[in-house]
């Protein structure tokens, strides 16, 4: 499948707009906590092979939206699908197996597994993960292949020297890198990154950015939550702005900054707007 | 089992410890064997065996070993016109069987109209027994639930805090080594010491562990260790036999709307309900009680409001210790005092708090009465030795149907 980098050039920058080749489609997704609408998305499409940033002020419902579509939370209403396959009622692990993998804002490294073991856990093809495989063997070959793949990924993310250390001994930034590398072991079509830059020192940010653009080059679709606007501007093909659970704007990065609604969402509305 | 040769020849079929007897009804000058009467033998509330009297009126129940048993005659199986000469002597408690011996017990029978009690009476008695058990469980369970609410700890040693209340009451009131106080003073002292033990536990053990930021699972395992140590410490100090307080033992039942009721059981229910109401008032109407609820809602916000969370937690332990001791006192009064009574009750306490919703005081009370009544009422359908099992099965069904409990919120699902 060829990905056209300019596929979104002609798409209008209006909330809920249709994309030429959507991989994720969300319809009427609602989730409220105690009467407050945390997520209320009418319609949203994510274009295949792009980097889509999900931005919005604190409490806009970005992480809740992630939780819902990755199967970690259940919506009150709504449908969403991945590449045409409905995901309603599909549990989190199956969503991952279908090719949509997410990371977490607070990294979830498996602390008392080594970095290499962390990578292996994400492999989906190892027959040794079934009880029968574990008992009767025959998984060495798959294991070796996975090791090879993991080694390449660790190399790519600069974690090779840590491969045999416990993940718990990594620094905060290294854990973020490991989490992304680990997600890639799943061979996902869509990778969802929840604030991958948070708590990462500036030097690492640059390399992490580089990795994320690399994912697009590998044909993956990236959805990520970020609040550093310079980062968003630099790498996204498309920006979706959430506020109070709803999509208030979407479009190419250039169109977002000048959008009054977005500025209002971020800076808040003034009291005497009409007088300004 | 080599001591079988000591057995009475008439009971030749047994080769070990047993309880038996002969049922003879004495009417005027006549002595008639009574056939077909069901006699059951229990130990610690669980059935050991039963036997039906034969044509000669003989019955025999083998028992698993030396010990103390309760023998019960099922009055509903007595033939018409035959009754117990003493109406409430259908249950003989504390029958001691010695190693290798067979113990003979007597049920004096005579002319009587005692047939099976009418259904409403049986139902009423069981409901009453359920309320009594519910009161005992509730008194004990509230503390466990409050501790969980303010600290998140499931304290396995809570059962021993219950036992302590009964054992201390026994020591102060009845034990020859003790001061021989009246039951009221002895009970008050036991509750005070129970509360003191709560304080010691929190200050000496749990607070330091909280300061070390020990995980809750690890703390739960520590509480299992504590439970073990305390239980066997009590066994060493108190001995393994069942004991009764010297007051309020053989009470004659009074008539309560047609249901025979033993006064001490009535007192248990009344005191239980009053104390639980006071706990409720304390939680609802006092500043400290409100602070306790505040801490269980949100410890961080409590701290930010100027509440000294550590003090509130210690107070909760003191209350839990006192209430558990009070529960134990009544458990000892209505059943008997024994070293592992609290641990046996703990499982029903767990059932009650999970049923009501772990961490909610009112849920624990409600759950306790539901469990108490379910346990006693179950004997309408199931054999009485399955009583406790019924309580535990109620718990499991509850977890299947409504895992958050009757009054709990949804967060318990992992």
């Amino acid at each position: 499948m060829t990905i056209d980098p300019n596929a979104l050039a002609d798409v209008a920058a209006v909330p809920g707009v249709a994309k030429p080749d959507p991989i994720v489609t969300i319809d009427g997704l609602e989730r409220s906590f105690g009467g407050v609408h945390a997520v209320n998305v009418d319609h949203l499409e994510i274009q295949r092979g792009t980097i889509t940033s999900l931005i919005g002020p604190n409490g806009a419902g970005k992480t809740t939206l992630f939780n819902l579509i990755s199967g970690f939370d259940e919506p009150d209403n709504g449908e969403w699908d991945l590449d045409g396959g409905g995901l309603v009622g599909i549990s989190a692990y199956q969503v991952a197996r279908r090719g949509m993998v997410r990371t977490f804002q607070l990294t979830k490294s498996l602390a008392r597994l080594t970095v290499m073991e962390n990578m292996h856990v994400a492999d989906q093809t190892n027959p040794g993960e079934t009880l029968r495989g574990a008992l009767f063997g025959g998984w060495r070959k798959a294991e070796d292949e996975a090791t090879e793949k993991a080694t390449a990924l660790l190399e790519r993310f600069g974690l090779t020297h840590m491969a045999d250390e416990f993940a718990g001994s990594l620094s905060g930034g290294q854990r973020k890198l490991l989490e992304v590398a680990r997600a890639l072991m799943v061979d996902p079509d869509v990778i969802m990154l929840d604030e991958p830059m948070a708590g990462v020192n500036p030097a690492l940010t640059q390399s992490l950015l580089h990795h994320i653009t690399g994912l697009r080059e590998d044909g993956m679709t990236v959805i990520f939550i970020e609040h550093d606007m310079d980062v968003v501007q630099e790498i996204s093909d498309w920006v979706v702005v959430l506020a109070e659970g709803s999509v208030i704007a979407e479009g190419p990065p250039a169109s977002i900054g000048s959008n009054e609604i977005v500025i209002d969402a971020y800076l808040g509305r003034t009291h005497r707007e009409e007088e300004e | 089992m080599a001591l079988a040769l000591l057995a009475v020849p008439a009971m030749a079929l047994a080769d070990g410890e047993a309880i038996g007897g002969t049922l003879i009804a004495t009417t005027d000058d006549e002595r008639v064997p009574v056939e077909g009467v069901l006699i059951s033998v229990e130990q610690d509330g669980t059935l050991v065996g039963d036997s039906t009297s034969d044509a000669e009126g003989k019955w025999l129940v083998p028992v698993p070993g030396a010990g103390t048993y309760t023998v019960r005659l099922d009055v509903s199986t007595l033939p018409d016109g035959v009754g117990l000469t003493n109406a409430d002597s259908d249950v003989l408690e504390d029958i001691v069987v010695q190693e290798g011996r067979q113990r003979t017990v007597l049920f004096p029978l005579g002319e009587g109209s005692t047939t099976s009690p009418p259904p409403y009476q049986r139902f009423g008695s069981l409901l009453f027994a359920g309320l009594k058990l519910g009161a005992v469980i509730a008194l004990s369970a509230v503390g466990l639930s409050l501790i969980y609410a303010v600290t998140g700890l499931v304290n396995f040693a809570h059962g021993e805090m219950v036992t302590l209340g009964a054992v201390l009451t026994y020591f102060f009131s009845t034990s020859v080594a003790g001061p021989g106080w009246s039951l009221f003073i002895a009970g008050a002292a036991a509750v005070a010491l129970g509360a003191g033990f709560g304080w010691v536990q929190d200050r000496g053990l749990w607070r330091p562990l909280r300061k070390r930021r020990m995980g809750l699972v690890a703390m739960m395992v520590v509480s299992i260790g504590l439970s073990f140590a305390l239980r066997y410490l009590i066994l060493v100090m108190f001995g393994g036999t069942r004991k009764l307080y010297d007051e309020f033992t053989g009470q004659t039942p009074i008539d309560f709307f047609g249901i025979p009721v033993v006064p001490k059981n009535l007192i248990t229910i009344v005191v239980g309900v009053v104390v639980l109401a006071l706990v409720g008032l304390f939680l609802q109407r006092t500043r400290i009680g409100t602070a306790l609820r505040a801490v269980s809602d949100n410890p961080d916000l409590s701290e930010s409001s100027g509440i000294d969370v550590d003090k509130v937690v210690t107070l909760t332990w003191v209350m839990a210790g006192g209430l558990a001791a009070l529960g134990g006192l009544f458990f000892g009064l209505t059943e008997a005092v024994q070293w592992d009574m609290g641990f046996r009750l703990l499982l029903l306490i767990f059932a009650a708090v999970v049923l009501g919703g772990l961490g909610t005081a009112y849920g624990a009370m409600l759950g306790a009465f539901v469990v108490g009544i379910a346990v006693e009422m179950s004997t309408l359908i199931f054999p009485s030795e399955l009583k406790s099992a019924v309580g535990l099965i109620v718990l499991i069904i509850m977890l299947l149907v409504r895992p958050q409990g009757l009054l709990g919120t949804r967060e318990r699902i992992g």
Binding site: T103, A122, E129 | V221, V222, L230, L399
Partner: protein, 330 residues
């Protein structure tokens, strides 16, 4: 004071078949607690079900060799039934539920209601003759040096049960060192992370409970055969707690920890018996304050205190590495 005798008594208990059976059960508990993070407080139920499954099969006319797999399968089934409703619950609820279910099951087994099947409180005896018929050593003969001896019957039992320990350890080692075991440890570390990587957490936990249950049943069967006796009151919650002490003592989440734990525990437990007996015989004041029965109870107090101290000061156990210690706060 005869310290040689104390060490001898402790040693003979340590190498005995009961220790082996405890080791097997501890290994299975370690799979659940140490490697999967499940707080199964109903371990004793699996042992009971295994033992009863075997004994009842023999009573019903089956052979012992049919009874053993029946016992194991019953335990696997119990794991399934126990797991379906409880594995979605939080850790403390799982603990409460499993202990409740185990105790309820014991009460049912000992009730007159189940008597036709289980023989109630009296239990079932003498079902393992087929096993002792295979004993190549004369049952009455004595093997060993001086007073350090065991009977032929014990020797046969020891050989078989320690072989079972070896097999079970090898099995667990194979499982844990496999990708399957890696997923288990991942679940122990963070369920959500495992889920996000496509692992069916519930399914794995259920497998852990069922395999652990099967191994627990093997342990129960070994104990039952050794004693030629199953009675419900041998399966009190106390036994589960002792197994936890063994696992934590040896080091939860280590392959050999549970076996080392069982050896050390039994050595100390029975050595202490012998020590107390010796002290009572030789030191007046000890005999004055403690009867022999009480001395046995003091030992259990020490078990409780020991568990507390272990958890507080050395949660990683004897074999564990502090960095890998299971019980910490993240």
């Amino acid at each position: 004071m005869d310290f040689i005798a104390v060490i001898r008594d402790g040693f003979l208990a340590m190498i005995g078949p009961v220790t082996a059976a405890y080791a097997v059960s501890a290994v299975s508990l370690n799979l659940q607690f140490g490697y999967t993070g499940l707080l199964n407080f109903g371990q004793v139920a699996f042992m009971m079900v295994g033992a009863y499954g075997t004994a009842i099969t023999v009573e019903a006319g089956g052979s012992l060799w049919l009874g053993i797999p029946v016992g194991i399968l019953t335990a696997v089934l119990l794991g399934l039934l126990l797991g379906l409703p409880t594995l979605r619950l939080r850790a403390d609820y799982l603990a409460i539920t499993t202990i409740a279910l185990a105790e309820a099951l014991r009460l049912i087994v000992r009730s007159s209601w189940a008597e036709p099947l289980t023989n109630g409180v009296f239990g079932i005896q003498g079902f393992a003759d087929a096993f002792f018929d295979l004993n190549p050593f004369p049952g009455g003969a004595v093997y060993g040096v001086g007073t350090w001896t065991v009977t032929g019957r014990s020797l046969w039992m020891m050989i078989v049960s320690w072989t079972v320990v070896l097999l079970v350890v090898l099995l667990i080692r194979r499982l844990i060192k496999s990708p399957w075991g890696r997923v288990m440890r991942a679940i122990r570390e963070d369920e959500d992370a495992a889920r996000s990587l496509g692992k069916n957490v519930f399914g794995y936990k259920l497998q852990s409970l069922m395999i652990g249950g099967a191994i627990g049943a093997v342990s129960g069967i070994l104990l039952a055969i050794e004693q030629q006796n199953v009675t419900p009151d041998a399966y009190l919650p106390r036994l589960t707690f002792i197994l936890y002490v063994i696992v934590i003592l040896g080091g939860a989440g280590t392959i050999l920890g549970p076996v080392i734990g069982a050896l050390v525990f039994q050595f100390v437990f029975f050595g202490f018996d012998s020590l107390m007996a010796s002290a009572q015989a030789n030191i007046d004041w000890v005999g004055d304050i403690l009867s022999p029965a009480e001395a046995g109870q003091v030992k259990l107090i020490l078990v409780g205190v020991g568990l507390m101290l272990l958890m507080i000061f050395r949660p990683q156990g004897m074999m564990g590495d502090l960095n890998e210690s299971l019980i910490d706060d993240h």
